[in-house]
């Protein structure tokens, strides 16, 4: 951080890029899902419209201070997560504030927004909110296990927990990517990724017919706008994280777009063709196959 | 039955223990240790012809004092156990049939003789076999004869109690006198040793034995009386 203001400026630029990228990505995904269904689908800029719409809502109700702060927590979590990650390898203006901490910081910061959001949603007093949170949190705990194991395997492999260094070690062609050099860990990580994206089939926490939309049942108007904007950051931040960890990172924006988009497509396609798991099912699944894979990945480096 | 079997097995085991002991006992041929010393010094030192008495009353006088206390304790214990609650009226003994004339006369005749015999035994304890305990027991047997022959016989508790207490007390006092006047507690040499073999010899031994005899006699009599009244 040679110059604070430069860093800040760069951060704003990358945030701007990633926000739009995240929004468009969302739209594209809607479109793709619709096409898979054989529909025409909404326009790719539909997320923008939705965002503007919720911002234009005239009234809002609040259940209390924590309810009010929940989306703030959530959005801070999303932005923070993104800001703590180096986005493009070797590109100085896309390093954000990654000097703040290493991979562990990023992993743990994922929870910041979720926890804050959970608190806010829970204050609404709507029983569906804690129900959704319970489901979401439960599933996260299960899916974090293989992810953690994969990360540990990577750390063991590269002898570092710095994302930049992990990406650096993967430079120089696809043969150096972790998916090639450490396929087991990647497999475990990617299975965990399905759960972490909270996409179908692992989206019981929002189960619309059962507990309408889950945690954010009570959220509306501008609260919702924060959450929608956050989704752009959060989802892309997670994608970037996985890209950095397993797929060699990116050195320029097209590569970034390409890799993250393909990563996202994995979850989208799996989600589109799979029915929703019950909570027990998904937890058991995560604790079995992905975790065992993760343990194998770790054991490789233990002995 | 199983109990008897177990007992039998156990006692067989115990029998082997005793057998083991028995096979290892060797008969002694001569006096060893303290007994030899007693034999050598006893007569000269204490002036008692009966060495057993010398040992009992003086050398191991503390034992004997303890022995007296044991008996005293037993008597006290029995008295405590058989004590009567306040307001207890003793069953009248009229309904018991009196004993026959022959028995009464015989008893009256025998009792003084038995008492005399007892007194003789404890008076001569330092010379001949016998002593305070034996004599006392004999005296008590006279009382027992009275009890047996005469159901309505009453012991004079005041007198008996007084004799009992005072004889014990004097015994202890003589023991203390031993510290003051002679070599140690219960030393018999507070009185002159006298002529070896005569009745007034061996220092305080005859006195002590007399006291013991009185005490034992009264105590045993008291025990008998207590038991008789209660049973």
């Amino acid at each position: 951080m040679e110059n604070f203001w430069t860093t800040l400026l760069y951060a704003f630029i990358s945030m701007f890029i990633i926000f739009n990228y995240g929004m468009v990505l969302g739209g594209v995904v809607y479109k793709i899902i619709a096409r898979v269904h054989g529909r025409f689908g909404p326009p790719v800029w539909q997320p923008y419209i939705n965002l503007v719409k919720v911002m234009g809502v005239r009234t809002a109700i609040s259940h209390g201070i924590m309810f009010w702060l929940g989306p703030v927590f959530r959005f801070t979590g999303g932005i923070g997560l993104f800001l703590f990650m180096p986005v493009l390898f070797g590109v100085p203006w896309m390093q954000n504030f990654s000097f703040s901490g290493d991979l562990l910081l990023v992993i743990y910061f994922i929870f910041f927004g979720q926890l804050g959001m959970a608190l806010g949603a829970a204050e609404s007093g709507h029983p569906y909110s804690p129900m959704g949170i319970m489901r979401g949190l439960s599933q996260v705990t299960a899916s974090e296990v293989p992810f953690a194991l994969a990360v540990i395997a990577l750390a063991a492999q590269h002898g570092t927990l710095s994302i930049t260094e992990i990406v650096a070690a993967q430079q120089g062609g696809i043969a150096n990517w972790n998916i090639v050099t450490n396929p087991v860990a990647t497999l475990a990580g990617m299975m965990a990724f399905l759960g972490m994206m909270m996409h179908a089939p692992f989206n019981l926490h929002i189960a619309p017919q059962e507990i309408p939309i889950g945690p954010p049942t009570e959220y509306q108007s501008n609260f919702l706008s924060y959450m929608q904007a956050n989704r752009a950051f959060f989802a892309s931040a997670k994608l970037i994280l996985f890209m950095n960890l397993f797929f060699g990172g990116a050195t320029n924006i097209p590569v970034l777009v390409g890799k993250t988009f393909s990563l996202y497509m994995i979850t989208v396609f799996i989600g589109v063709v799979n029915p929703r798991f019950t909570l027990e099912n998904s937890i058991r699944w995560f604790i079995r196959i992905p975790t065992v894979t993760g343990i194998i990945a770790v054991l490789i480096y233990t002995f | 039955m199983i109990k008897r079997l177990f007992s039998f097995v156990l006692l067989t085991g115990l029998g082997f223990v005793f057998y083991y002991a028995l096979t290892n006992i060797t008969a002694s041929r001569e006096l060893t240790g303290v007994s030899a010393e007693y034999a050598e010094r006893g007569a000269a030192e204490l002036g008692a012809a009966n060495l057993v008495t010398a040992i009992v009353v003086t050398y191991r006088g503390l034992d004997t004092l303890g022995e007296v206390s044991v008996l005293f304790l037993a008597a006290t214990g029995i008295a405590v156990l058989l004590r009567r609650k306040k307001g207890y009226v003793q069953a009248r003994s009229e309904d018991k049939r009196g004993s026959s004339e022959i028995l009464k006369t015989g008893t009256d005749f025998l009792v003084p003789i038995i008492v005399m015999f007892g007194v003789y035994i404890f008076m001569n304890g330092h010379l001949t076999p016998g002593g305070g305990f034996q004599g006392g027991a004999v005296v008590a047997s006279a009382v027992m004869l009275q009890f047996l022959s005469n159901p309505s016989y009453r012991l004079n508790h005041t007198v008996f109690g007084f004799i009992e207490s005072m004889s014990g007390f004097f015994y202890v006092s003589i023991g203390i006198l031993g510290i003051v006047l002679a070599g140690g507690f219960l030393d018999n040499r507070i009185l002159p040793l006298g002529n070896f073999g005569s009745i007034l010899s061996a220092g305080a031994i005859p006195v002590i034995y007399t006291l013991i005899g009185l005490k034992v006699g009264t105590e045993l009599a008291g025990i008998l009386d207590n038991m008789r009244r209660d049973a």
Partner: protein, 1050 residues
């Protein structure tokens, strides 16, 4: 100097003359009686002073004016004088105690007592074996009579059984005496012992000594030839039973002790083991006992067995001169006074069953005495029993007799079990208000005995191996504070709390700056934690006077623990801490069972720790510094394991955690904070000391540190897992505490600079967080009156400050950046990965994510969701609770922004042992694997958060505030808050999926252990059928068995 023979003479003289006063001089009798008693006490005091103060030489008394062996001689030396004094004083007290009974029975009861005393004095004084027999008979017969004195069927039958046994004993004694006499030609003990060595007929001698031995085994009530003794204790009036158990046993023991040199080493070995077996089995059988006097009887028998066992062993070693005052006397005194006192208390309470002893609380002094005696009997410091056992264990270890120590400690544990259970019952007042009859004579007698006991205790405490030069203050501090506060009678409790706080503050002020090294963190933590958490206790409304003394005792012992510089200090403080915390927990409502479980686990752990010490102790000759662990020896790894188990119990490691939830939950709410925030660190401190001194040895192929790491990781995971299913907030926090401490253990097990930094950082973190959380919950419970989370809800509106505190607490505890919890996690994972323990890392990670579940549940179920109608009017928690919480929160924020302040100091403390592990670049801490800039994280998060919050505020200047039922619904309106608040069995689906992890294996295991112990206990005690004949059978059986053991099976 009055010749001790006068004791005998005077007692006898008075005894003989007393019956004369029966009728006419009945006023005079008692005067003479008490005069005689006082005379003996005075004479013995004179000798006592002569030997203790002037250090006089042993004095011989010859009777009959002839030298031994011809005559009987008495001897009074140091030990005799001590025993004599204690016996006569207690005898006097006993006479006072039985005043009423004596006056009812009449003058003859006085005679019995006098002669009992005579017999006991004789037993202690005499040096002639036959004389010993006579005095034993005097003792026995007076005891029989005293037993039968109340002429009840029970006491009569007990006395009868006693007499048959006593008759057998005397028969065998006579047989033995005559055999030994026939071989040695003397009856004088010294002469016998002298000439016994040259005897040719060894077999006969061994039979003779065997007979004597056997007789004493019966008289000393050794297992299993002791059924009658238990009946006697049960059937007799407590006054007499106390005398039998106290002075009677002591004198008989001393007689036995005098004869012991006569025995060969093989025989002594038998005595030693027989005594130990008695100790073990009697205590085991005592566990099932509910009859107070019989239970005391079992304990009495056990203690006698132990004392005899130790004495026999001391003669085997040929080291009796040293062992007697160091081990035997403390054990004996401990037994003597406590048993006398307890029996006498039983005579005041007049309840046979332990369950009915609630009425003792009517009399505070009596109750206090009772508790103290129970503790002394259980072997807790600072009472003599502790010193005796401590010295015994270490001495045994020097003799490499470890099996003995195992059995000894097992027996002690059983004993503590039934005693503490009993004490626990009395601490809980029962509903039936029995009036406690107040008897001033009995109280007086009791107080005499207890006062002597205190004197003895103080003596042993003052002379008990403490090195006063170095940090001695710490060890007196807890007691000084505790008793000081207890004795401040009339000041209000609040003032006491403030005094406590100021004492802590002053202490910290003068003491902390001089500290360095790892101990400083513990000191600082305990002192600051103690200060602020005590602040919360100022809110207390109840008038109970024991709280602050106990609290200060606990804090003081924690400080003493940290500053102990040898294993004795350590163990001493450890026990005090266990004890004080036990009582603190016990104060909670309905906590009897839980606190009992706590103290049993703790005690078992402490005993294992003691065993560990013992295994290491021989390594360095007689030194007690922690250095003994550094010296590798034969048992290094075993020692490590045992000590570790002790610490693991305190840290509630998996499998040893059964106590934690219950005791944290049932303790009073402000106390729980102390337990979790401070007390749970004691085990950690133990590990720090242990690992520093010992490193991490390996047992065979296994690296113990590696195993420890798995224990830590599993504890972290399973503790957390159990926390999420709890409905009770405090139980939840208790399990959370268990999990968090698991992390600390994991960190310590890494045995690297980074690992230890992580562990200590986590420790400080946990201390702050649990302080906050428990206090916040305490505040909530204080207002709502319930700790069931699902019964609350929506309290955020009523208690926003508590909510905020809990929120920061859970953010910190779950390890989410930017608060300190993340720092701990970061350090921990870096250290683990650096070490190469990847699986443990994964498990720790899993645990930390699972922690979110309970964190959320805690805050949701209490503060969020639907407020309940009944809690509509609750107020914010009192400021007493809130202020410490916010102090801690400020500390958390400070450490979150500037973790360097803490990490630098921790690293500096850890560096001497492991070298440098972290480097700094400005505010960025750099490890070998990664980096972390807490200041930057905090700044970024803070700025983003504030900007977004402002943004939202600008966009939404006015929002409609709605109420709890203004939630989305279409069909039926929410019916009641209870039905709308989703909190009960919150994680049920999770349980369906992951419940297999928390199956109560440990509970089942420990339940089966305790149940089988009780079953064995119950089955075993059935040998005491109550039939006198069976007892005769036992006695003869023991004889035969002993004989065959000693001579070898033919």
């Amino acid at each position: 100097m009055v010749n001790p023979i006068y004791i005998i003479a005077v007692l006898l003289g008075i005894g003989f003359i007393l019956p004369l006063t029966e009728k006419k001089l009945s006023k005079l009798g008692p005067w003479v009686f008490y005069a005689g008693m006082i005379f003996t006490a005075l004479v013995s005091y004179q000798w006592f002073r002569f030997f203790i103060v002037s250090g006089g030489e042993t004095y011989h008394i010859f009777t009959a004016g002839v030298k031994p062996p011809l005559s009987i001689n008495l001897q009074i030396g140091l030990f005799e004088s001590v025993l004599l004094f204690v016996t006569n004083l207690t005898g006097l007290a006993g006479a006072v105690y039985m005043t009423k009974q004596i006056s009812e029975t009449g003058v003859r009861a006085m005679v019995l007592l006098l002669l009992l005393l005579l017999g006991l004095n004789g037993l202690i004084l005499t040096r002639d074996i036959f004389n010993l027999f006579v005095f034993m008979e005097i003792t026995a017969i007076s005891t029989y009579s005293l037993i039968g004195m109340d002429v009840k069927s029970r006491s009569l039958s007990a006395g009868f059984k006693y007499m048959t046994a006593g008759g057998l004993a005397s028969a065998f004694l006579l047989l033995g005496i005559i055999i030994v006499y026939s071989l040695t030609g003397t009856l004088n003990l010294d002469g016998m012992i002298r000439s016994a060595e040259g005897i040719k007929n060894v077999k006969l001698l061994s039979i003779g000594s065997m007979m004597i031995l056997f007789s004493f085994i019966i008289e000393a009530k050794q297992f299993p030839a002791n059924g009658w003794a238990l009946d006697v204790y049960e059937g007799t009036k407590p006054g007499v039973a106390g005398l039998i158990s106290g002075i009677g046993t002591t004198a008989v023991f001393f007689g036995f002790y005098k004869i012991m040199p006569l025995f060969t080493n093989e025989t002594l070995k038998i005595v030693m083991w027989a005594g130990l077996i008695t100790f073990f089995f009697s205590n085991l059988m005592g566990m099932k006992q509910e009859n107070v006097k019989r239970m005391l009887g079992y304990s009495s028998v056990a203690q006698t067995g132990l004392v005899i066992s130790v004495s026999a062993w001391s003669f085997m070693l040929g080291n009796d001169k040293l062992i007697f005052p160091m081990i035997v006397l403390p054990l004996l005194f401990n037994h003597f006074f406590t048993k006398t006192g307890l029996f006498w208390i039983a005579g005041l309470v007049k309840k046979d069953t332990t369950g009915l002893w609630g009425s003792i609380t009517e009399n505070k002094i009596l109750h206090g005495i009772f508790i103290i005696l129970i503790l002394a009997l259980s072997g807790f410091p600072p009472f003599p029993g502790f010193w005796g056992k401590w010295n015994l264990v270490l001495a045994m270890s020097l003799d490499s007799n470890f099996f003995y120590i195992w059995v000894l400690l097992a027996g002690s544990l059983f004993e503590a079990a039934y005693l503490l259970k009993w004490a626990g019952i009395t601490l809980k007042k029962d509903k039936s208000k029995d009036i406690l009859e107040y008897n001033s004579y009995k109280m007086l007698a009791l107080q005499i005995v207890v006062l002597i006991f205190f004197a003895v205790t103080v003596y042993y405490f003052m002379t008990g191996n403490f090195d006063h030069t170095n940090g001695g203050l710490h060890f007196y501090l807890p007691f000084a504070l505790g008793t000081g506060l207890l004795l401040l009678p009339f000041i209000p409790e609040k003032l006491k709390g403030m005094i406590s706080m100021s004492v802590i503050a002053v202490y910290a002020f003068y003491f902390l700056p001089d500290q360095n090294g790892i101990g400083r963190f513990f000191n600082a933590m305990f002192l600051s934690g103690g200060f602020f958490l005590t602040f919360a206790t100022l809110n207390r409304k109840d008038r109970s006077r024991s709280f602050y003394p106990l609290l200060m005792l606990m804090l003081g012992s924690l400080i003493a623990l940290v500053n102990s510089d040898n294993i004795l200090h350590f163990f001493f403080s450890w026990e005090i801490m266990t004890l004080s915390s036990y009582f603190l927990i016990h104060r909670g409502k309905g906590s009897a069972e839980e606190s009992f479980r706590y103290v049993m686990f703790s005690l078992a752990g402490a005993f294992l720790m003691l065993l560990g010490f013992a295994y290491s102790f021989p390594n360095l000759n007689g030194q007690m510094s922690f250095g003994i662990f550094a010296v590798p020896g034969q048992f290094t790894s075993l020692s490590f394991i045992l000590i570790s188990i002790g610490f693991l119990v305190k840290s509630a490691a998996l499998g040893l955690h059964l106590w934690i939830a219950g005791s944290y939950a049932k303790a009073e709410d402000d106390t729980s904070a102390f337990l979790s925030a401070l007390l749970s660190k004691a085990g950690i401190f133990g590990f720090v000391m242990l690992l520093l001194a010992m490193g991490a040895p390996s047992a065979g192929k296994f690296d113990l540190a590696y195993i420890l790491s798995w224990i830590g990781a599993l504890t972290a995971l399973i503790g957390t897992m159990m926390a999420i299913y709890e409905e009770d907030a405090k139980r939840l926090l208790a399990y959370s505490s268990m999990g968090q401490v698991g992390y600390i253990i994991l960190g310590l097990a890494i045995m690297s600079g980074l690992g230890w930094t992580a562990a200590l950082f986590q420790m400080v973190n946990h201390f702050l967080i649990k302080g906050i959380l428990f206090l916040a919950i305490a505040g909530v419970i204080y207002r709502t009156g319930t700790s069931e989370m699902y019964k609350m809800g929506g309290l955020i509106k009523k208690m926003p400050w508590s909510f905020t505190a809990v929120m920061f607490g859970i953010i910190a505890i779950s390890g989410v950046p930017p608060l300190t919890g993340f720092g701990a996690k970061w350090l921990m994972y870096e250290a683990l990965i650096e070490k190469g323990w990847y699986l443990q890392t994964g498990m720790a990670f899993f645990a930390s994510t699972v922690a979110f579940l309970y964190c959320f549940r805690l805050i949701h179920a209490i503060f969020l969701g639907q407020p309940k109608t009944e809690f509509r009017n609750v107020k914010e928690a009192p400021a007493w609770f809130l202020i410490p919480q916010y102090v801690f929160i400020m500390a958390i924020f400070f450490f979150s922004i500037f973790p360097r302040v803490l990490i630098d100091r921790i690293s500096a403390a850890v560096e001497p042992f492991f070298g440098k592990s972290l480097t700094w670049d400005g505010n960025t801490v750099i490890s070998s694997l990664g980096y972390w800039n807490a200041t930057a994280v905090m700044t970024i998060v803070g700025v983003v958060f504030v900007v977004l919050a402002i943004g939202l505020f600008i966009k939404l200047p006015k929002v409609q505030k709605v109420k709890q039922f203004n939630i989305v619904f279409a069909a039926e309106r929410p019916e009641t808050p209870e039905l709308t608040h989703f909190a009960y069995e919150f994680f049920r689906p999770y349980r369906r999926a992951m419940g297999w992890m928390v199956r109560p294996y440990a509970t089942r295991f420990w339940r089966s252990v305790t149940e089988s112990a009780y079953t064995v206990s119950d089955a075993l005690r059935k040998i005491y059928t109550g039939n006198g004949q069976t007892y005769i059978f036992h006695i003869l059986l023991v004889l035969v068995i002993l004989f065959y053991i000693s001579t070898g099976v033919k």
